[in-house]
């Protein structure tokens, strides 16, 4: 079994030279912001530590997280990550199927009790006892709870596992529920995004396997190193925002000049992710660089906040769809009209009472 092997053994077995290995360590250390000492620590860790078994499960999802993950460039998934972790189970990409595949779960659960990482893509639907997502003949929610019992930690991949995403959007007929609302007694790392950035995903895995502990998480359970700043904070169009230069329409002069997309409803100012620094597809581009605002896909309930092109949440409580400013303006108008009417009545009343008094 591969578990007795160290990461270094596996890497060498795959024909990677010591030189490439060292280069990888320094590159990853640099990309995580650890400095030269970090590279040394990583090297040592990889040479001595056993690979961490990872069970990758799929609930209600679209596999965009997996698609993103396999495109990681730094580090390359093919060369490093699939060797670093021991990806023992991933029903989408593994060769085993049926009984053979399910046996791996059982085996991992027994052999690596409290040591394996449970990576969950998608979420379980809870309605009708979880019948909306059947996996291996059982409701996914049961399988999830069963595997979570003995896991060291759970990685919630993507907006689905972290927040609920599209299947949990109103009215959420299947009652799709994010992982942290189902599993309460295990540390959960949320890696939101639809999908999350490939390098963020591999970065989180690398951190856990290297240091044997979880990265520092923020209040929402997201790794601080990738989710502590907004898209807006590191956006290369930010100077145009501060200057007051905005795209007013999709095909105007401002759009051609690459002005800030704030007025087009860009959700960069309310979205925590690393897109504006790490970017996508090996650092080629990201939505704002391509001329479209951020839609806030890594934020809670991003399907239910109204239009992607509006910076205020739609408020449905008033029957019609309206945003805060429309409601406010209407209220101010009504109150203003009320004041005018009230003042008019007051004046009329005053005149009539005076007349009454003089008459009497």
């Amino acid at each position: 079994m591969a578990a007795t092997e160290t990461f270094y053994d596996v890497i060498r077995r795959q024909g990677i030279t010591r030189r490439s290995f060292t280069k990888f360590c320094s590159l990853t250390a640099a990309s995580l912001g650890f400095g030269p000492a970090g590279a040394k620590a990583m090297e040592q860790a990889l040479e001595t530590k056993e690979r961490v078994p990872v069970i990758w499960m799929h609930g209600l999802e679209c596999t965009c997280c997996s698609e993103s993950f396999i495109r990681s460039a730094h580090p390359l998934v093919k060369d490093v990550v699939l060797s670093m972790i021991s990806l023992d189970y991933d029903d989408t990409i593994m060769a085993a199927a049926g009984k053979q595949a399910e046996a791996i779960l059982e085996e991992t659960k027994q052999k690596y009790k409290g040591k394996y990482i449970l990576a969950v893509e998608g979420n379980p639907p809870l309605n009708e006892d979880g019948m909306f997502c059947i996996d291996g003949g059982k409701p996914f929610v049961e399988k999830l709870k069963w595997m979570a019992e003995d896991a060291m930690a759970i990685i919630a991949w993507g907006a689905c596992a972290s927040w609920g995403c599209v299947q949990a959007a109103k009215p959420n007929p299947t009652q799709a529920t994010p992982i942290d609302k189902v599993i309460k007694d295990k540390p959960i790392i949320k890696v939101p995004g639809c999908p999350p950035i490939a390098e963020v995903m591999t970065g989180v895995v690398t951190f856990i396997t290297t240091f044997g502990r979880l990265p520092e998480l923020d209040r929402q359970g997201r790794p601080q190193m990738f989710y502590s700043q907004r898209i807006h904070d590191k956006c290369y169009r930010r100077p145009h925002f501060d200057a007051g230069q905005f795209v007013e329409e999709w095909d105007d002069e401002g759009a051609r000049k690459g002005y800030c997309l704030y007025k087009m409803g860009c959700k960069g100012p309310t979205t925590y992710n690393a897109c504006s620094t790490v970017r996508w597809n090996g650092g080629v581009s990201f939505p704002i660089q391509s001329g479209h605002g951020c839609i806030g896909c890594s934020e809670d309930g991003f399907w239910d906040k109204g239009s992607f092109y509006d910076r205020l949440t739609t408020i449905n409580q008033f029957g019609i769809e309206a945003n805060a400013d429309q409601i406010g303006r209407t209220a101010a108008g009504v109150v203003g009209a009320g004041i005018v009417a009230h003042a008019a009545i007051t004046a009329v009343k005053r005149v009539t009472t005076k007349r009454e008094k003089t008459d009497a």
Binding site: Q220, E299, A324
Partner: protein
């Protein structure tokens, strides 16, 4: 009523005009009122332009800082409002009883609600005459509590929470107000509520100014000058 009576006197030491006045609003309350008014005006204006920015400015980005200045003004005015709100809370403890009025609604008092109802009748033209009050009338107290005191705290808390998004996770703003993001994980919702809060306060301002002017003319006591001198002047001697 137990207020002290001061009467204006003429040159012979005799009472010239028989009018009663009471010292109601102490200096810190008055100063707070006007600083607060200015801050709210500034905040509403700049806040509106942060939410719906002005048309784009021409030229290089490096030569302009319009949004930056608007946001700076908003943040500065917000900090001033917050500091004065803290001082105002302090004064509620050490000041006179009128300084406490806007911080609670005496919902347990039957008399309060009957007077409240009378005030509603007065504003709906059902009562002929308003009652006399040294401080705020019951309806005013009610409205101020729900449309000024609570919204101000709400705006300060959500405001600092939003501000912490820019100052970062290590900032004192985030340490103090980051819990807001536990209630609303998506800060877009906080933005939305912050907008709504502005409209609540602006609606109050409209009503407040109208009613202050109206009462100054119609009621039996001074209103506008009281917030400048602190003295409440009663226009008649009839008991109430």
């Amino acid at each position: 009523m137990s207020y002290s009576e001061t009467k204006a006197a003429d040159a012979h030491g005799e009472q010239a005009i028989d009018r009663k006045s009471v010292y109601v609003y102490e200096a810190p309350v008055r100063i707070w009122h006007w600083v607060n008014a200015l801050a709210i005006l500034t905040l509403a204006l700049t806040g509106y332009f942060i939410g719906s920015p002005l048309p784009s400015v021409p030229g290089e980005a490096s030569a302009n800082f319009l949004m930056g200045y608007i946001r700076f003004t908003h943040f500065a005015a917000g900090q001033i409002l917050a500091i004065f709100l803290i001082l105002r809370v302090y004064w509620a403890f050490v000041g006179n009883k009128h300084a406490r009025q806007i911080f609670y609604v005496p919902f347990w008092s039957g008399r309060y609600w009957s007077e409240w109802l009378h005030e509603v009748k007065w504003y709906t033209f059902l009562a002929r005459q308003p009652k006399k009050y040294v401080g705020h009338n019951p309806l005013a107290q009610f409205t101020m509590f729900f449309m000024v005191t609570l919204p101000l705290f709400f705006m300060v808390i959500t405001g600092f929470a939003l501000y912490s998004e820019g100052t970062g996770r290590d900032s004192w703003e985030y340490k103090l107000f980051g819990w807001v993001f536990s209630i609303f994980p998506n800060s877009q919702d906080i933005h939305t509520l912050h907008h709504l809060g502005m409209w609540v306060i602006l609606t109050f301002v409209m009503v407040h100014i109208y009613v202050a002017v109206r009462e100054d003319i119609m009621s039996r006591q001074s209103i506008i000058s009281s917030m400048i001198s602190g003295e409440r002047l009663f226009k008649d001697e009839e008991d109430d």
